[in-house]
């Protein structure tokens, strides 16, 4: 009998202690932060902006689509460091800020170019609720607060739309890349590899974008678009890459997932469009008399997607010639990008890291001068092979029948 009683007591105590209610947080007491943005104010203090989801207005589908109110609310506050901005914002919000669903961090152009991003990430890495796979994006030509306040039409949560937008651009265009906190930190600490962060800019008057009217129109006046890749040196933004230079850089870093490029054929510019389906890039580094020699080899596989000049695409020799042209085009892009980076004196390709891997002892000597001295003077050899695998639902274009 005695045993039984103490057993009961034991269970009661366990129930209260072990089930872990100490840290309890109720759903309706939480404010879900979907995105976080960092900016600088005039005094040089950080401004943290928090995009907080209004759950009632997001619920879509059968429940009536959320209704007339904005799906997010944006709060911002200044502080000496990021934690302080959070403290100031949490006073304005009636609920606890909850970061487990944060999937976007926006860094404004101003922070990136004036203060640098090196010291920003410690909090994100250290805080329990943040995931280090959160995406990082730069703003371009606008403040981070404006960027977070723009409402979007496809995804109700703007942060979601930015991430999806970026993902789409990465998968189809080959000029942007998604980058996470992990990646950024890694390339910041690896000497000989600088981060490349995609930027977004606001098209139109940012103030209008915060109103619901904007997204009720079929052609929203205010939109967010991916716009360039930010190049960093020693943690500071120094340049933007766009178009072919951006793509060339991503080719060389094995980040292109799919893209399309046009080649000149039969003296006609952009006559054949080649669509890359997958590619593989390998970087090998050597040191010859302290002069780095980098060889890049790219192999791309794809299909012919559009033809505007008549040519016999059934003939393997024609295809081989087109493959050669495509390879030349890709090679030119990569060389252009590398040339650009050498002028910037910023190794965004990770060539230094490749040297580190192949010559660990010599790397220690040249490490500090890599970006300014060795990288700009290194020999770069680019080898590209492109393969055409198929030509779609037609072999020859109808244009070849037109000519006869």
């Amino acid at each position: 009998m005695k045993h039984k009683r103490s057993f009961f007591a034991f269970i009661l105590i366990s129930l209260t202690v072990v089930s872990g209610c100490w840290d309890k947080r109720e759903m309706n007491e939480l404010a879900f932060v979907s995105a976080f943005a960092v900016d600088l104010n005039e005094e040089g203090k950080y401004v943290g902006t928090f995009q907080i989801i209004n759950p009632g207005n997001v619920a879509g589908g059968l429940q009536g689509g959320g209704g007339q109110n904005a799906s997010i609310t944006v709060y911002s506050a200044a502080g000496d460091n990021l934690l302080e901005t959070e403290g100031h914002v949490s006073m304005k919000v009636s609920r606890d800020l909850y970061y487990a669903h944060t999937n976007l961090i926006i860094i404004s152009e101003k922070v990136a170019s004036e203060k640098g991003i090196t010291e920003l990430f410690d909090l994100f890495e250290r805080a329990r609720e943040f995931r280090t796979t959160t995406n990082v994006v730069l703003t371009r030509n606008s403040s981070a607060e404006e960027m977070l306040s723009v409402l979007t039409e496809k995804d109700k949560i703007p942060a979601e739309q930015i991430v999806n937008n970026l993902k789409g651009a990465e998968e189809s265009q080959g000029e942007y890349q998604k980058i996470t906190i992990d990646n950024v930190i890694n390339s910041l600490i690896t000497s000989g590899n600088e981060p490349l962060i995609s930027a977004f800019s606001i098209k139109g008057e940012p103030k209008k974008g915060t109103k619901m009217e904007n997204i009720q129109a079929s052609q929203p006046e205010v939109r967010m678009e991916p716009n360039g890749l930010g190049v960093f040196k020693n943690g500071k933004l120094i340049d933007w890459l766009e178009g072919e230079t951006a793509r060339g850089t991503l080719w060389a870093t094995d980040k292109v997932q799919a893209t399309s490029l046009n080649i000149t054929w039969k003296n006609k510019k952009d006559a054949i469009a080649y669509q890359v389906v997958r590619q593989k890039t390998k970087i090998a580094a050597q040191l010859k008399k302290d002069r780095p020699k980098i060889s890049i080899s790219v192999r791309a596989e794809g299909r012919i997607a559009e033809v505007s000049v008549s040519s016999d695409l059934t003939n393997p020799h024609t295809l081989a010639a087109i493959e050669k042209e495509v390879a030349k085009e890709i090679k030119e892009e990569i060389e252009k990008a590398i040339y650009h980076a050498q002028i910037n004196k910023s190794d965004t390709f990770g060539f230094g890291d490749a040297i580190h891997r192949s010559h660990p002892d010599k790397w220690k000597k040249i490490k500090s001068e890599w970006n300014n001295e060795y990288f700009p003077s290194s020999d770069i050899e680019v080898k590209v092979e492109a393969f055409i695998r198929r030509t779609g639902l037609r072999t020859n274009s109808y244009l070849s029948d037109l000519e006869q």
Binding site: R278, K280, R299, A300, E301, P316, H317, A320, E385, F387
Partner: protein
């Protein structure tokens, strides 16, 4: 094991036929070889894993029969 040798022989002959065919079509020898090999060149990770699994199964049976014989 015999089966694998036969398969290897057949594959070798088939591949040399493919190379020869490219050569006859007017590509030089290097290019013909490259053309035969290049479909395997741009492989995704998932693809490569399937490839390895298939090769694994190729050797599974001979190894199994070998140990069965040893037991007897």
């Amino acid at each position: 094991m015999k089966i694998l040798w036969i398969a290897a022989l057949l594959l070798g002959l088939l591949l040399s036929y493919a190379v020869g065919l490219n050569y006859v079509l007017g590509f030089n020898l290097n290019k013909s070889l490259a053309k035969t090999m290049n479909p395997f060149r741009v492989m995704e990770i998932a693809e490569f894993i399937v490839f390895l699994v298939l090769i694994f199964f190729l050797f599974l049976n001979p190894v199994r029969t070998f140990f069965k014989k040893e037991k007897k």
